[in-house]
């Protein structure tokens, strides 16, 4: 036991420690008094600045999206403070934004790394709330994280503006009064794709699902199954694949002999890149089954994923929340200022985060206060336009945004490395709307 460590302390040191531990006995009361003295969490009071918290994946599988989200947040803060060309502030209406911060206070921000893990995301959200005193938390690139952070924000009384999250649960069974989602969901993807699939591939098809084996994958599969069966397709089989499998060949081989003529890939991120690339390598798309061309569908598409999949995405159908090639003034203004700032077009994750930040700022201006219950009330049922998706409404009952959904196809002849998705249809809002009661869940109280 030569290495056994011995710490030696002088008597003086011990006395000091004793005095300090006496001090600490009084400290809990001291800190608690401060916590209860404020009328709502992180009230900026008379400070000249307000802080927003941007919680994005900076490491892990979705870090590319996280980085793009952060770029958008920084741009939004710039525009809110009246710097730069103003971006969507010029097209967003009805707007109460003045370009002098929020309610006259300069906007600053804190960032955190979610690592795409619920625990880490909650820890960094807590740090931003408790230490950085942020008024609002936004960002994220996965539904698990969104649901976890959203319920934390409900407990803490801080508004959460969700970033990229596509699961029905975020505004379904796990919805919260303090959480808002601008992004569309799996159900809406299914509704939007239905008519296009019918038109392109006909009524008599046999579909085979490969589904990422977790919450989002299941809701996506369920929505696609319902939609396709409604137009008369048959579902041959639904197979769950482990998340992050890497090699999908063992799941793709059975598809060849199953008699199916459409493969639906309910995958996202790296899973989707791998499964789609391998399906194309196996020659599925060159096959003829039941006298029809074999087709592949990817219900949730993003440009960042399309970049990863390369050649394989050509001609593949999918849905997306927003694409930079849209020609409306709002999208144009956003793409222009994003491009001027960073030299690349924004992804749909960046778009939703940018819009969410503006919407929060605008709601504060409308309410005339940062007091969360009032801000929530001005967001609920808020109708707006000029943010790239046409007329949009934040439904009061479940805090889900309703707007047009884009159906896209992988571009056969891309003109640039970013020109990967071609919008083939803008499904109108009325077609993707649903009764909020179908998913259950409760929003909870305004005051916490």
């Amino acid at each position: 036991m030569t290495k056994d460590f011995k710490l030696d302390f002088s008597r003086r040191g011990l006395l000091k420690a004793g005095a300090a531990s006496g001090l600490v006995a009084a400290s809990p009361a001291f800190f608690m008094r401060n916590a209860w003295a404020e009328d709502f969490r992180n009230n900026p009071g008379n400070a000249g600045e307000v802080k927003l918290g941007f919680n994005v994946p900076q490491t892990g599988p979705y870090s590319e999206e996280g980085k793009d989200e952060l770029r958008a947040f920084k741009l939004a803060v710039k525009h809110l403070n009246g710097e730069g060309d103003g971006g969507m502030l010029n097209t967003f209406k009805p707007s109460s934004l003045k370009g002098n911060g929020i309610l006259g206070k300069k906007v600053t921000f804190a960032t955190g790394d979610t690592q795409t893990k619920s625990d880490a995301a909650r820890a960094s959200a807590k740090r931003m709330i408790e230490k950085e005193k942020v008024l609002m938390v936004s960002g994220g690139s996965s539904s698990g994280v969104a649901v976890a952070v959203q319920s934390l924000c409900q407990e803490e009384g801080i508004i959460f503006m969700a970033g990229l999250t596509h699961s029905n649960d975020t505004t379904g069974k796990d919805k919260r009064r303090y959480g808002f989602r601008h992004f569309f969901n799996a159900y809406m993807s299914g509704r939007a794709l239905g008519p296009v699939l019918e038109k392109e591939y006909g009524k008599e098809r046999r579909a085979y699902h490969l589904t990422a084996d977790y919450n989002w994958g299941w809701t996506q599969e369920e929505s696609m199954k319902d939609t396709t069966e409604e137009i008369g397709w048959q579902t041959v089989n639904t197979v769950k694949t482990p998340v992050g499998a890497g090699d999908f060949s063992q799941y793709i081989t059975p598809v060849l002999n199953s008699g199916a003529d459409v493969l639906i890939l309910n995958h996202y991120g790296k899973d989707m890149i791998n499964s789609l690339t391998q399906a194309v390598q196996f020659g599925l798309r060159d096959k003829q089954v039941n006298g029809k061309n074999f087709e592949i569908v990817v219900p949730l598409f993003s440009r960042l994923m399309a970049q990863g999949a390369g050649e394989a995405i050509k001609g593949i159908l999918g849905s997306t929340n927003w694409n930079w090639s849209l020609q409306d003034p709002g999208s144009q203004a956003f793409v222009k200022s994003f491009g001027a700032e960073y030299g690349i077009p924004p992804s749909m994750a960046a778009h939703t985060c940018y819009v969410q930040t503006l919407l929060y700022a605008n709601a504060c201006e409308m309410a005339g206060t940062f007091y969360p219950p009032e801000v929530i009330k001005s967001l609920e049922g808020f109708k707006f336009d000029g943010t790239g998706n046409g007329p949009t409404e934040y439904r009061a009952e479940d805090h889900q945004c309703f707007k047009d959904v884009l159906v896209v196809r992988g571009n056969e002849n891309p003109t640039s490395q970013f020109d990967l998705l071609k919008v083939i249809e803008q499904t109108p809002r009325s077609q993707v709307e649903y009764d909020w009661k179908i998913f259950g869940g409760e929003l909870g109280p305004y005051k916490v």
């Binding site: 300090a20 400290s27 625990d119 409900q154 699961s167």
Partner: protein
Amino acid sequence: MKNIPMNDVTRLLIFAAVILTMPIWLIPLGGGYPDLMQKFAIYGIFAIGFNILFGLTGYLSFGHAAFLGVGSYAAVWSFKLFTMNVIPAVLFGVLFAGLMALVIGFLSLRRSGIYFSILTLAFAQMSYNLAYSVLTPITYGETGLQLSQQDPRLIDNLFIEEVSTGLPSTTLFGMKMSGYPGFYFCAALLILCFFISMRIFRSPFGLMLKGIKSNQNRMKYTGLNTRPYMLTAFVISGMYAGLAGSLLAITDPLAGAERMQWTASGEVVLMTILGGVGTLVGPMLGAGLIKYFENIFSGFDNNVLTSAFSFLPDSVAEVVVPVVGLFVGGGWHLTLGILFMIIVIFLPGGIVEGISRLTALFRKRQQSIGGNMTPQDQPGE
């Protein structure tokens, strides 16, 4: 005599004082907020427990996160089904983690060395995948297990008529377990755990474990069956992990499957090695360091850096900020990795070895002035 060799009581008192004064001395370091301090205490317990197995027996378990996860799930279910009081949650967390450690330990301890590590890793990864998908009815998969207003909470509902609209919070007989009270609760348990670990280190049982570490065959030749001892150590350390897991759920009532992932198991190995394997305070130091990096360093962005380096002339700051920026914010893993390499290469005994070398250096200087050699300064073997 100027330096009194420390006995265990003073050791414990100093440890307790340092832990309980955290809200004061962490403020200048930018870590004086409840959530981070809770994490320090909780992961301290986790690492101290891991060290009972790894530090004493030398058996490197790569699957300890599984027990952490089981502890969390058990605690959240206790909130959902029985009561929001934290005492049953802690008991359930420790109990279930202990049971699982018994099963996994019984199977894995048949092998040693790398085979043992791989077996535990396999079990943990299996638990993670089960929690992530197959066991979704119990674990709620990717979304994580959360409280809801419709939970039965049988015991609570016997006593109180539920009228509040929001989600209930975890309590210790009416005291809310978030923020500072939550931290003091975790800190009290951490001190208790430290005490127990110290008793184990000093006990004949601890000596037996150290014997296994230095030469298991020799122990066997003396006619001793080592396996029950190792299994006990494994279960104790699993129960520590379960306690840490239940505390995670108490301070933040949510249990996610990521808690069981192999990265979480790897993290506790890093904590222990960083701090010092087989030492009493080492794992706690390592846990604190890693959590500090994860929470504080990852939050530094270019704005913070620019203001930190604002004393430099602009032209210099323009060069310094982007370079330093690589190592903070999203690059915190990089800094941690470099630090880990430095420590493993130059200080195989971790931070504790670093401190004892510094003290030795300091003492040597005093001796050269006119000190006398005490027997305690001599190596024991």
